[in-house]
């Protein structure tokens, strides 16, 4: 029921029913205004539930918003803003909220007590997966996902400040004003749609005017300060190391306005002031979950801030003076107060309503909503008709963030709750209600004083100026649970009640942590925000201990649920990983080449031609280009590192197993690089361009790794070496020109023709390509007479197109990764399929490349007995029986006759291909003592693909073993 007629309304739907809301208010306010009490079904027992609170701590009123790609489950109706056309649905009920068949769970509830699943569904084990779990999953739960891909956008962002003020109630506003006036760089974050906290919800004065008016003035002053940033709708969700805070920002307007839905902030603050306020706690009394039973502070918020009366006749039940405010505010707003029930014998309150002191609520009635309560007083029981019961069990300071770095809060007897332990988060201080200071005046004072201390730390001077405000004392007499027939709910979101906690104690789960896991208390989306303290108190009582002896409560981030979508913001689609494109990319795509990922790079798999229906046809043809004519391949993705300095050669000697100081200028040498543990890191060629100038080539896969390794060696291991390393991978577009006609082709593009005499195998030097300064290397990864020609990247696409056009004239063309792989396997050249991190120089037959004349990275470890010798699995070639006998990479190798079991495995296959050159399938692999077994026939077995083949073990170089073709 609305207390006044609103000026402007929007229409949304709840389970299809059209409902009017006032812009700015939460869906919960509009539902209450429409008289809707039943909003949800509970997690486990499907009990009818209503709206409890007016904030992010809401336990019951979880709803689903939108449908299809925009469907979002488990949204709290209390923080969901109404908007035109919004579609809201109840969840966890079927066929409807009012007639939920799973409510049968509630009738069999004695069997579903805490620990029920652990005890019941134990045997037989196979039943768990197939029977029990699916049934339980269907029965219990919250909202569902649509199964469709989320189309909304989310953001991540970074912010920095001197002082982060968390919460904009009286303490937070004063803290921000004080720090801001002192000139500090301030961020003030508050999760509400408007700043002011309780000052927007309570009827009281600040500085002699209505609190809400004072808030308007304070905000106007803050907004005018260029050094203050106000972030509404932003919940600080976590406190992390070195002053980093996570915060979830909800963006006003969101989807409908084409805006991102949410933004996840990382706020880095030199100091933080936590002014998160306090959360009212419920009292556990029989059937305290009936729709219409609410928190007193929630009732006041709806009445005072949103002008909505949650009921026609409201009763108030509390154990502290604060509860009486509720009765006064309701009366002032013209809402009938049915009764005030105070558990304290000496409670005093005046007003035009019946007061019952020393009394408790022992029962509630009403099918889908509250109709009456039964109270017990010194004079017996009494039934009171009411459709809303406002409950206050006292206040729990919102200590959550102070627990995020292992801090444990301290029990405060005076307020019967936990307060933050100082210095729980380095750089963060606490002020106001979250610190246990509950009156408005105390909050304003603490906010100002604490902020003044913080800015003084930062070298600024602050003036403390606090407005006058209400300073009523907070008087409370703890009341946790009321005895009586029926379940007394503690954790509404996970359906945990007093008896569950007592059962845990009875079964000897006496520590808080054990009790939580046994009962699941505190494990719902709200993480026990409102239930932890009551549960702890009930456990303390059940185990006959005091609360501090029983334990404490702690909270982990995030303070409110954070969607995976916003955590992954920016990583959707193309944002997932960078894409690296070579200069020839569009030329390859133009030719219809499927592009495959090679690390972050995209490289052509093969270049299909008309009439080819299978990649193997293209691949075989491309291999033929290189073996018989000339092929062109973009090899720019290989790492290129420029190494210069007086000690450049010494650096190479140290990082490669073989020597480079002896390399002549104008020559290239193959190098093998080990990790310090003796295993192979990478290999490649290094060219000496000048006396103190080299350019190193790495594999595509290890380019980043090798660059980091060289910097590591220079900075951490050998800072004595005077050399500089710079990546030039991106500077040069480099193309392999490979095949018998490669020189002939190059001479069509080079400004000065080259000869075999001037450019022997492993020569390098400067060339001119169409007037552009380039580099030429006579190296070969195919075993053919071949070159790699490099030009500055701006010319890459142009040169590639011209090389390919010339190659085609000569009966060749471009070749892709598939052909490149065949060509290198035919020659037994290794890649990271072979040097996969567990192979040594010995394993690949290169132990003689570890120079005895000098130290190098990995040398000492490579000489370890276990890394050498017959027991090692050594690189071998594997030849299949013929074209119909394809091999399989990843398969294991067995002796003939041995069973194909793990213990008999003698090795494995790393690379396979069909070789059009040799006319059969080839493989590379590692075989125990393999070099001594050439000529033997063994068995290849792939259990995954169900392939068994006999293969002949041979030298890994299948083709042109003396290397005459490359040198010639």
């Amino acid at each position: 029921m609305r207390l006044a007629t609103p000026e402007k309304t929007v229409t949304f739907t709840f389970d299809g029913q059209r409902i009017k809301g006032v812009p700015g208010e939460p869906v919960s306010a509009a539902l209450l205004a429409a008289g809707i009490k039943l909003v949800a079904r509970s997690f486990k027992y499907h009990r009818p539930r209503g709206i409890m609170s007016a904030g992010s701590e809401e336990q019951n009123a979880l709803v689903t918003v939108g449908r299809g790609t925009a469907q979002e489950p488990n949204v709290r109706a209390t923080t969901l803003e109404v908007s035109e056309g919004l579609e809201v649905f109840s969840q966890n009920a079927w066929p409807s909220l009012k007639h939920d068949v799973m409510a049968v769970n509630d009738l069999v509830s004695p069997f579903l007590a805490a620990g029920f699943y652990y005890k019941t569904f134990m045997w037989p084990r196979s039943f768990w997966e197939k029977l029990y779990e699916p049934i339980i999953r269907r029965a219990a739960g919250l909202g569902a996902l649509s199964g469709e891909s989320n189309q909304d956008t989310y953001e991540k962002a970074f912010a920095f400040c001197d002082v982060l003020v968390i919460g904009a109630g009286p303490a937070g506003l004063m803290a921000a004003l004080t720090a801001g006036r002192a000139g500090a760089d301030v961020v003030l974050a508050d999760e509400d749609t408007a700043m002011g906290g309780r000052l927007l919800r309570e009827r009281e004065d600040v500085d002699g005017k209505p609190a809400a008016d004072w808030v308007v003035e304070a905000l106007a002053e803050l907004e005018a300060m260029p050094n203050v940033r106000l972030m509404t709708r932003t919940t600080v969700t976590g406190a992390y190391d070195q002053g980093t805070y996570g915060a979830l920002g909800r963006i006003a307007g969101g989807r409908a306005a084409g805006k991102p839905l949410e933004c996840f902030w990382r706020i880095v603050a030199k100091r933080a002031v936590l002014c998160a306020g306090a959360l009212e706690r419920p009292i556990a009394f029989p059937n305290n979950d009936r729709p219409g039973v609410m928190l007193a502070s929630g009732v006041r918020a709806y009445v005072n801030r949103w002008g909505v009366a949650p009921g026609k006749a409201v009763a108030v039940f509390g154990n502290n003076d604060d509860a009486h405010r509720t009765a006064r505010d309701l009366a002032a707003a013209g809402v009938k107060v049915a009764a005030v029930i105070d558990s304290r014998d000496d409670a005093k309150v005046e007003g035009d309503f019946p007061l019952y002191t020393g009394a408790e609520v022992i029962a509630t009635k009403g099918r889908h909503a509250l109709e009456s309560i039964t109270i017990k007083t010194g004079n017996g029981t009494r039934v009171i008709r009411c459709d809303c019961l406002a409950v206050s069990g006292g206040w729990n300071p919102t200590v959550h963030l102070t627990c995020h770095m292992n801090g444990r809060p301290t029990w405060d007897v005076g307020i019967a709750s936990f307060v933050p332990t100082p210095e729980s988060i380095p750089g963060m201080v606490t002020a106001g209600a979250c610190n246990g200071a509950f009156s408005t005046a105390a909050c304003l004072n603490e906010g100002a004083e604490v902020a003044a201390g913080v800015v003084a730390d930062l070298g600024l001077a602050a003036e403390i100026k606090t407005p006058s405000a209400d300073d009523a004392a907070y008087a409370i007499q703890p009341l946790w649970a009321v005895e009586g027939k029926g379940r007394k709910w503690i954790d509404f979101q996970n359906d945990v009640h007093v008896k569950d906690v007592r059962l845990a104690a009875q079964e000897n789960f006496r520590s808080v942590e054990h009790m939580k896991r046994y009962t699941t208390q505190g494990m719902a989306p709200d993480q026990g925000k409102s239930s932890n303290v009551v549960a702890l108190a009930v456990l303390a009582d059940a185990t006959g201990r005091g609360i501090p002896e029983t334990g404490t409560t702690t909270f982990r981030p995030p303070y409110v649920p954070v969607s995976i979508a916003v955590m992954g913001a920016g990583s959707q689609g193309k944002g997932f990983a960078p894409e690296r494109f070579t200069t020839s990319h569009s030329a390859s795509v133009d030719r219809g080449a499927p592009m495959i990922e090679a690390g972050l790079w995209y490289r052509p798999s093969y270049f299909p031609k008309e009439g080819e229906s299978h990649w193997r046809q293209s691949c075989d043809r491309e291999v033929g280009y290189v073996r018989e004519a000339v092929g062109i391949c973009d090899v720019s993705t290989l790492g290129k590192i420029d190494i210069q300095g007086p000690d450049a050669a010494a650096l190479l000697d140290f990082v490669y197993t073989n020597g480079f100081s002896t390399l002549k200028v104008g020559r290239v040498r193959y190098g093998l690089m080990l990790r310090e543990d003796g295993h192979v890191m990478d290999d490649g060629t290094t060219a000496r361009l000048g006396e103190t100038h080299f350019v190193m080539t790495t594999t595509t896969a290890a380019a980043g790794l090798v660059m980091r390794h060289l910097e590591y060696v220079l900075q951490a291991i050998r800072p004595d070496l005077d050399a500089q390393v710079i990546s030039v991978t991106e500077q040069w577009a480099q193309f392999a020109v490979a095949g018998p006609k490669s020189r002939e082709l190059l001479n069509t593009v080079l400004d000065q023709p080259i000869t075999d005499e001037d450019w022997p195998f492993m020569a390098c030097g400067a060339v001119s390509v169409g007037g552009v300064a380039g580099r030429l290397f006579r190296i070969s990864f195919s075993g053919e007479h071949a070159y790699e020609v490099a030009v500055p990247s701006r010319y890459g696409e142009s040169l590639f197109r011209q090389l390919v056009a010339q190659a085609e004239v000569m009966g060749g063309g471009p070749y892709g990764m598939e052909a490149l792989n065949v060509l290198r396997i035919e020659k037994g050249f290794i890649t990271h399929a072979e040097i996969h991190g567990r192979t040594t120089a010995f394993d690949i037959g290169m132990e003689r490349m570890v120079s005895a004349k000098k130290d190098c990275i990995g040398k000492a470890a490579a000489a370890r007995p276990g890394l050498l010798g017959e027991s090692r699995q050594q690189l071998v070639g594997l030849k299949s029986k013929g074209v119909d006998h394809a091999l399989s990479a990843g398969a294991h190798l067995f002796d003939k006759g041995a069973s194909h079991s793990r213990v008999n495995s003698k090795g494995y296959v790393t690379s396979v291909c069909y070789s059009p050159t040799i006319g059969t399938h080839l493989g590379l692999g590692f075989l125990e003592n393999g070099r001594a077994r050439h000529g033997e026939v063994i068995v290849l077995r792939d259990h995954l693909r169900n392939i068994t083949e006999e293969v002949e073990v041979c030298d890994p170089v299948f083709f042109d073993q003396d290397g005459g073709r490359a040198r010639g």
Partner: protein
């Protein structure tokens, strides 16, 4: 003989304007990295001053044509050769863009984990940092403009990430 056509790293991709922000490609005539050898920093700085009018600036700073580019290395806008340093032609290695317009800090705050607000990060300040997944060099070039440099091969990803952030900021109006 070949006849080679040059393409810039962002050829065909820029300019891009969304809301109040525009991204354009910056095409330096040449870029040369200069990494002094041990004991040569001062001499290299003086030599550069004579050649390009600016010596080696302090860490995290740009001075004229010379920009600090990481641990022990500076980037010179222009072709230059000096003794006592590893001098490497980088003219084709980098994609350089300028992003300019009101609210440009809000766009970058969605991508870069460094405080780039004008009160902290002033004109000529340099940050070697990350933009989403990319390694970048960010330089403030004016009150509402920054220069961003990343590896040439990743220019599309840079522009994609900038575009997403620009749309998010522009949608807020």
């Amino acid at each position: 003989m070949a006849s080679l056509i040059a393409l810039t790293p962002c050829a065909g991709l820029l300019p891009l304007t969304i809301g109040a922000i525009t991204v354009t490609e910056v095409v330096p005539q040449a870029l040369t990295s200069v990494a002094p050898f041990k004991g040569h920093k001062k001499a290299v700085s003086e030599a550069l001053k004579a050649k390009v009018g600016a010596g080696l600036p302090a860490l995290n700073r740009r001075s004229g044509a010379v920009t600090w580019f990481g641990h022990g290395v500076w980037m010179v806008a222009g072709a230059v050769s000096v003794e006592g340093a590893a001098v490497t032609d980088q003219s084709d290695a980098w994609a350089v863009v300028e992003i300019k317009g009101a609210g440009v800090e809000d766009v970058l705050a969605r991508l870069v984990p460094v405080d780039l607000r004008a009160s902290v990060f002033k004109k000529g300040h340099v940050a070697k940092t990350m933009l989403a997944h990319l390694s970048v060099t960010v330089v403030r070039t004016g009150a509402d403009s920054f220069e961003i440099t990343t590896m040439r091969s990743m220019s599309k990803t840079l522009l994609h990430d900038l575009e997403v952030a620009m749309r998010g900021v522009a949608a807020r109006g």
